[in-house]
């Protein structure tokens, strides 16, 4: 085992973890300000300049709130479930490549935490583990609304997870790899289309997959218009009805970290990640991820919530067949491309 590499990537991962936490805090501020703007309000602007200290104030408030464990809760699982959500959320970001290797203090350092052969599947696997925080939290609360919210949310997340995974198969066919570093490299080539020189970003060669991924990702992170588990008009707050104080905020943290991680992954898979005009670099990745985050807030401010039967119908009757069609067509085109047809 290479101890030096291990320590370097552990430190990088630790830094990334902390950056994600800070970003997440400011994502809540960004969302509140932006939604307020959409709705012709002002939003939080009292705590510090432009309300910039609001996330800190929220954190202090939540940490000093009472942590209530209901009498008929399954105590151990009730206490652990939100922690599980929180711990798993940032892990997906470890495989995102943030740049090429740089030389620092006479040592070559890769600007990604880890590059594994099954990176994309790893991201999906971490996502599939994420449902445990939801289903166990809902079960352990001992509240009917929580349990119903958890069941709904889990059924939703697993249905869209399928679409999320299958929408990426087209990219795997084109690159022959699951590694995000390889997928990024494939996109850094140029695509010549009708005399036009375009970047080989997969949004151009896999537009249907991009749309499917985007819809599935929003549903997977339980965000509007797919925020049915939290349908407050019917389920109070879904699976976290009984949670309070900092344990509640763990679910909140997890949701926002998931949004950021999915945005980073989507930017890397479809928009060429760090690839961009002029100089390639992490700023392009950040800018692209920011577009997705803006899109999340925009959706929330614009669209009403889906009805549950529409939600499940969309996944199984529209998106799943479309994902399979996308795989079939991509395969045919690729066969023609490599001269096997």
């Amino acid at each position: 085992m290479d101890w030096e590499a291990l320590i370097v990537s552990y430190l990088l991962g630790f830094v990334l973890l902390n950056i994600l936490l800070v970003l997440m805090a400011y994502m809540t501020w960004f969302e509140r300000r932006l939604v307020a703007f959409f709705q012709d309000r002002i939003g939080p602007n009292r705590t510090g300049p432009f309300g910039l200290l609001q996330p800190i104030a929220d954190g202090v408030k939540l940490i000093s709130k009472e942590d209530i464990v209901p009498a008929n809760a399954d105590r151990l699982i009730f206490l652990v479930a939100p922690l599980l959500s929180f711990v798993l959320a940032p892990l997906g970001a470890l495989v995102v490549p943030f740049g090429d290797s740089i030389t620092l203090f006479g040592r070559q350092i890769n600007l990604y935490v880890i590059d594994i052969n099954v990176a994309t599947l790893y991201f999906l696997a971490v996502g599939s583990m994420g449902v445990y925080g939801i289903i166990l939290g809902g079960y352990a609360s001992g509240n009917r609304y929580s349990l119903l919210g958890a069941l709904r949310s889990t059924a939703q997340v697993i249905s869209y997870e399928l679409v999320l995974g299958l929408s990426l198969v087209g990219i795997f066919i084109l690159t022959g790899s699951l590694s995000l570093v390889e997928i990024l490299r494939a996109q850094q080539r140029t695509l010549i289309l009708g005399g036009l020189e375009l970047p080989n970003w997969f949004i151009l060669s896999q537009p249907l997959a991009f749309v499917l991924f985007l819809i599935a990702a929003v549903a997977e992170t339980n965000r509007a218009p797919f925020d049915l588990p939290e349908a407050e008009t019917e389920l109070i707050a879904g699976y976290f009805t009984e949670y309070s104080g900092f344990r509640f905020s763990f679910y909140f943290l997890a949701e926002y970290i998931n949004m950021i991680v999915v945005s980073l992954i989507a930017a890397t898979l479809f928009l060429g990640g760090i690839d961009g005009p002029f100089i390639d670099g992490i700023w392009w990745l950040v800018a692209k991820a920011f577009i997705f985050l803006f899109f999340y807030v925009w959706l929330r401010a614009t669209l009403p919530r889906f009805r549950y039967d529409q939600l499940m119908g969309l996944a199984w009757k529209v998106l799943l067949p479309l994902a399979l069609i996308n795989i079939g067509v991509t395969g045919l085109v690729r066969l023609w491309g490599i001269g096997a047809l």
């Binding site: 099954v118 696997a125 166990l136």
Partner: protein
């Protein structure tokens, strides 16, 4: 090399402890959670053995799908309805114990009599690295040498799809969809004051095609049978 052996024993130890937890926990949900922990440790052992694809497949399929299914079942069924996890009839316990012992003996015999290290195949570590990695090698092998098993798997999954429908919603398979729809329409339409709070014990035993009380000793149930309602067609639905 030594560190890998150490990691293996750590992971294997946790996996076995978690597996023991599955059997020993009194609450079935706790059992399921222990099983998740055990599966994750097994996946980590696969990683140590350089079987990356198998590891993620283990996590995605077993912990991500199958245990979720198990948890769904546990939550859909009321806890009172679950069979006793401990105790039960002595004969059943004895049979279970003997079967477990037989399985243990079988596994032990297999391990002790055969060499675990088979003949080396054509996929040496170098060959795997040459095609790009573990998953690429599996793809090449699976879709060439294992053509028949792959299609057999597809057939099996197809059978499972049909079986799933039959298990979960037999009324659809048995073409009782029309009846179900009629019941649903009526219960939404509420032509007159039909829902009353009344003790379940006073109700006639639920018959086929009739809504059953939801649970508890006093429940909101439909006071009349569906057939009575169809005397006055709801929402202009014509009688058969």
């Amino acid at each position: 090399m030594a560190i890998e052996v150490l990691i293996f024993y750590l992971l294997a130890g946790v996996a076995i402890a978690a597996a023991a937890g599955v059997v020993l926990a009194r609450n079935p949900v706790h059992s399921a959670v222990s099983l998740v922990l055990s599966f994750i440790n097994v996946a980590a052992i696969y990683v140590v053995l350089r079987a990356e694809f198998l590891a993620v497949a283990q996590i995605i399929v077993y912990t991500g799908a199958i245990i979720v299914l198990v948890l769904f079942v546990l939550m859909l069924v009321q806890q009172q309805d679950l069979p006793e996890f401990h105790g039960g009839r002595p004969l059943r316990r004895a049979v279970g114990f003997l079967l477990g012992l037989a399985l243990l003996a079988e596994v032990a015999a297999a391990i002790l009599t055969r060499s675990l290290r088979g003949a080396p195949g054509s996929w040496t570590p170098e060959a795997v690295a040459a095609v790009g990695g573990n998953i690429q090698a599996i793809g090449r092998e699976l879709y060439s040498a294992y053509m028949l098993p792959i299609q057999a798997t597809a057939l099996l999954l197809l059978a499972a799809t049909i079986g799933a429908l039959f298990l979960a919603r037999p009324e659809l398979v048995e073409e009782r969809l029309a009846v179900a729809r009629r019941l649903f329409t009526i219960s939404l339409a509420h032509p007159r004051g039909v829902d009353t709070l009344q003790p379940v014990a006073e109700l006639p035993a639920p018959q086929d095609g009739q809504l059953k009380p939801a649970g508890g000793d006093r429940s909101l149930v439909m006071a009349r049978t569906a057939e009575e309602f169809t005397e006055q067609p709801a929402w202009g639905e014509s009688r058969r």
